[in-house]
Symmetry: C2
Subunit: 142 residues, 2 copies
């Protein structure tokens, strides 16, 4: 989660919403990324999506069984579904996102019969640091 | 939808699940794509995501207000959320997808309080052709 927080901080410095994600397997970092939606003009360029795409490209596979994803904020519905498609084994997230989350809020993707792979989900890791990064970012922009 | 069906057919010929999507604004095609998850080793490379990313890159914006998206199958949760993030005005889809859809099945993303933009949704366009393409594809692979 320390690497995810670093990626989140770096994203904030680039003017992006400070969220970071890391894909790890067997203790090895396959990919890490921060949000790049503004830079790339890409509404799908959330940290989780970029990290998953990079890890899959590196592995030469659209699935990452046995891999764990760490992300500083609860994934949205888009990212939750991508995590399931990539067959991520465990999801660790930091702060909860009642306004936009899709794991423990909204459509709760992993609990739906339309979800065909449910990772183990663990939350609350470094949540204060993760939430503070976001709050400060939005306060500074007001 | 004819262009989306062509993209779906082309995807099937490449060995990808035959689904196609087109982004249109003011009668002009901004982007069209078929599934490329296998070719790109990218679990997020659904037709809708590829078409949205291409259209956004072309327009130099992460939002496409006033644009319409045509897709041959009901979008999944990932694609539904991406459609909302891109501020697509109207979604036209072909066949319903009770097993994996995220618009009128599963978490029904656009009906959630965590969804912050709801496109108008129209379904059933060329649904027989769209569903036949998918059925034939999976029959041939058995």
């Amino acid at each position: 989660m320390a690497i995810a927080l670093e990626a989140a901080e770096a994203a904030g410095k680039r003017g992006e919403v400070p969220i970071g994600a890391v894909v790890v397997r067997d203790g090895i970092v396959l990919a890490s990324a921060g949000n790049r939606t503004r830079e790339l003009f890409d509404p799908t360029a959330h940290a989780e999506i970029l990290a998953l795409r990079e890890a899959c490209a590196t592995e030469g596979s659209e699935r990452l069984p046995g891999a764990h994803l760490y992300v500083t904020l609860e994934p949205c519905a888009m990212c939750a579904a991508a995590i399931a498609f990539a067959r991520i084994e465990r999801l660790y997230y930091g702060a909860a996102d009642p306004k936009g989350g899709g794991v423990d809020h909204g459509g709760r993707f992993f609990d739906q019969p339309t979800c065909h792979h449910r990772p183990e989900v663990y939350s609350g890791f470094s949540e204060t640091r993760a939430a503070t990064l976001l709050r400060q970012f939005f306060e500074e922009r007001r």
